[in-house]
Symmetry: C2
Subunit: 154 residues, 2 copies
Amino acid sequence: MKRNDETYMSQMMEMLQEKLRDAGIKVTHQRMEIFKEVLKSYDHPDAEMVYKKVRQKLPTVSLDTVYRTLWMLVNMGILQSLGNSREKTRFDANLDSHHHFTCRECGNVFDFHNRELNCLNIPQDLPEIGKVEQITIEVRGICDQCIELQSTNK
Amino acid sequence: MKRNDETYMSQMMEMLQEKLRDAGIKVTHQRMEIFKEVLKSYDHPDAEMVYKKVRQKLPTVSLDTVYRTLWMLVNMGILQSLGNSREKTRFDANLDSHHHFTCRECGNVFDFHNRELNCLNIPQDLPEIGKVEQITIEVRGICDQCIELQSTNK
DNA sequence: TCCTATTTAGGAATGATTACTAAATAGGAT
DNA sequence: ATCCTATTTAGTAATCATTCCTAAATAGGA
């Protein structure tokens, strides 16, 4: 099932309209075109790249709209974002094998240990792709303190 | 072995000087203090936090120096950086279970599949920490094309 | 077709990080 | 110990992805 297959594309566009309507969000040309461009791209485009493509169809679209829409689609579970998530870079002098849990509310980072994650067999080479040098496992969620706070402030 | 233990600290400071000298890099007060602050911190400080601490000892140190030094220590394998790595955010309409390989040279992102990574048992709760909502696995390295290019340009 | 809450365009603002340049300094040579 | 110079630093300006702001446009129900 190729992502730029005619039938598949219109199915997905249909799905988008449905989900937007269900969520009470207006179906705009901008939103349709932005989603369509990501759907057609196999190279994990950034906002700028999507912007340039969409401009060919909607010459007045703004970069802000592209950003807003992309993040909205991520929040709706229709797209996935990858790479960083625009927090400050943090540093750690502990080089022992351990992992990090980042709280989405307060931003604090907690260390944790996990046998299964420690023993991960990281492939040294990915055939047809390249040589692996580093693997990062990021766990995100909400910390106990912030859960506490939220139930109190309700 | 606590990281702010007297003996441990001076051992590590010794180690730093040795590694710097071995690499032909000058041992400056700034570098020593910056490393010492990260070593003493258990909360994965960002550059700004390190900057503020170091200023108490060296009131004229600049934020640029802190950044330069932290990244140098990361490159030397003496510190670890976590969280983002300041690339643009990329988006993906493929929600099937797959993973991403990012090339450190060209920045391209390649999809790959891996049984072991797919079947990871992600703990739903980390005791004493919080509730897990998302886990991201990021693989970085250098892609075949860039390996090719590098050996050609030699 | 009309009305209005939502959305958008365009540009300004933000905030982390990096670049630039003159002054300071680490560390080898004298 | 002093001098010399390549390296490093301080201070500030620049950069760059992303978000904010506000007036104008519009989707979609009445």
